[in-house]
């Protein structure tokens, strides 16, 4: 019974913790402009993150060590440093976007300007990173993030033509008034949002924090292969709701307040309350995950003591990185920069950095010295190779598409 509860809790938190500010904004933007015609990209992205999260979780469970720890050792300091720089840049950008997302969510409840709220959120995030137990942080925020399931209910209530939605997604039916370049740009942005690098660092480091062993592989796989796809369903529901409410009016999504509006339209104030709880939990949870990921990546690369499973005093440099990252995020947001703009840049930057993140994981998961009998099989390698090609294409195309489309304008 205890094992079943742990399994269910893991799956539920994986669903609730799947969506972050990048998913919220990008899916709503895409839904409003393209309907569900880019739904296939979400499905491909979710399968991709499942493939690599399973790999990195397996690496953590079998070797007892996290990704960066092994990347430097297995691929050398040069490749490790390149991997570190790219991933750290994207993760920091995502961290800024997530804290900005929490501020925007709080502003929707309180009417207080997000710039004024940012310092308090920075302190709160840092306090959680410093004091809260890893499992409590993950479970509480993941479960509260489940409030976003309200998007699925809202989509149902809005009464779409399900056949048409499915047809749009399956045939990738681009609206006539959109050009292929913009369509491709948003495909890359959605792919980047679904496969954000920090997710695998956090997942593998979390496995070490929670002391996974080979016995936990079943639970880990259930979290990944059940929880993540159901989280992906939330992404599709966000896009579908935006398509239903904004699509017919020709309205584009530029703000977080617009992302939640379809739920208010469909379900009223109670639905809106769920949305607000979900927004705060999803962005706050992701802020904690990205914050920790900055500390994890630096500490693991340089061989410092890290993690929340040791006392803060024993991992002083790790906690110093968390403080500096939080100060940087707060400082950037206090300039008044639009968090939605930071989010849009961060998802494209994610796409650019994807090969540097995922290639080393594929290499380490194939090393029998670390993995023993749990080394990658044919299926994992086949899927891993296909996805590596896809992430290379997305990475190469991201910047030219960003420039040519004026960020999808």
């Amino acid at each position: 019974m205890k094992k079943f509860v742990a399994l269910a809790l893991g799956i539920l938190t994986a669903i609730g913790g799947f969506v972050d500010i990048g998913d919220l904004v990008t899916n709503a933007q895409v839904g409003a402009r393209f309907g569900l015609s880019l739904g296939g990209v979400v499905v491909i992205g979710v399968l991709g993150i499942c493939v690599f999260a399973e790999m990195s979780g397996r690496v953590a469970a079998c070797s007892g060590r996290a990704t960066f720890d092994l990347v430097r050792e297995r691929l050398g300091p040069g490749m490790g440093l390149l991997n570190l720089i790219a991933s750290l840049f994207v993760t920091l950008l995502t961290f800024i976007a997530e804290i900005g997302g929490v501020a925007l969510s709080i502003a929707l409840v309180s009417s207080v300007s997000e710039v004024l709220v940012v310092p308090f959120i920075g302190i709160l995030v840092w306090l959680v990173l410093w004091r809260a137990k890893f499992s409590i942080m993950e479970d509480v925020l993941g479960l509260l993030g489940l409030a976003l399931v309200v998007f699925i209910v809202a989509l149902w209530q809005l009464g779409p033509d399900w056949g048409q939605l499915v047809q749009q997604a399956v045939t990738m039916d681009k609206p006539e008034d959109e050009d292929w370049m913009t369509y491709a740009y948003y495909s890359v942005a959605l792919f980047g949002a679904a496969m954000t690098p920090y997710e695998v660092f956090f997942f593998s480091s979390g496995g070490v924090e929670e002391k996974w062993t080979a016995k936990d592989l079943g639970t880990m796989r259930a979290n990944v292969f059940v929880g993540f796809p159901l989280g992906g369903l939330l992404s599709l529901a966000i896009a579908g709701s935006a398509a239903m409410v904004f699509g017919p009016l020709g309205v584009e999504v530029d703000s977080l307040s617009q992302v939640g509006l379809p739920v208010g339209v469909a379900l009223g104030k109670i639905g809106l309350a769920f949305v607000l709880v979900g927004f705060v939990a999803a962005t706050f949870g992701a802020a904690c995950e990205t914050g920790l990921s900055t500390g994890y990546s630096l500490a693991q690369f340089f061989g410092w003591q890290w993690g929340k499973f040791v006392r803060p005093g024993a991992a002083a440099r790790f906690h110093l990185v968390l403080i500096l990252a939080t100060l940087l995020a707060v400082g950037v947001l206090m300039t008044g920069v639009d968090p939605i703009l930071v989010t849009e840049v961060s998802v494209v930057a994610s796409a650019v950095a994807l090969p540097l993140t995922y290639f080393p994981i594929l290499v380490v998961a194939n090393d029998r010295d670390y993995m023993g009998d749990h080394v990658n099989g044919r299926l994992a390698n086949g899927l891993g190779t296909i996805y590596l090609l896809l992430v290379v294409v997305a990475s190469v195309a991201a910047i030219p598409l960003l420039v040519l489309t004026g960020m999808g304008a």
Binding site: D177, D254, Q258, L261, G264, V265, L272
Partner: protein, 151 residues
Amino acid sequence: MRTAVVAGLLALSVSACTASPADHQAWQESADHAVGAAITGVGTAQVVIDAAAQDHLTHPYGVIALTDALDTADGEVATFAAAQPPDDLQTDHTRILTALHEALTLLAEVRYAYASPGLTADQDRELGDRIDDELAALEELSASLTAGGLS
């Protein structure tokens, strides 16, 4: 040789700072974008007002959604207004700017009225009708632009 390169770079920098007219295609794209932003703002206001009329939104949420809509549209319109149009499109430019300013004024009115003291049923209907008319006008403008011009 070095002096010539520096002089060339300086000339290039200075010419980049002058307000030379945009070419037709750049102006068209900029106009499309600004009209699209106005449609987004007014369309969002329509969703907010309709939902508020059914008591589906909390007041702070509605105010922020309207403020965001106004801010975004305002920024895009300001960018379009600051650009120098091609000489033969100045009349079209002025016509579009007038339409965009009407849309912004309506958005501001809706936001003020909704934020405080709040909308009565009559005001709600009246503003709703004006929003519908404004949206229709903007969509017509957008369609004309897409078709190749206003004249």
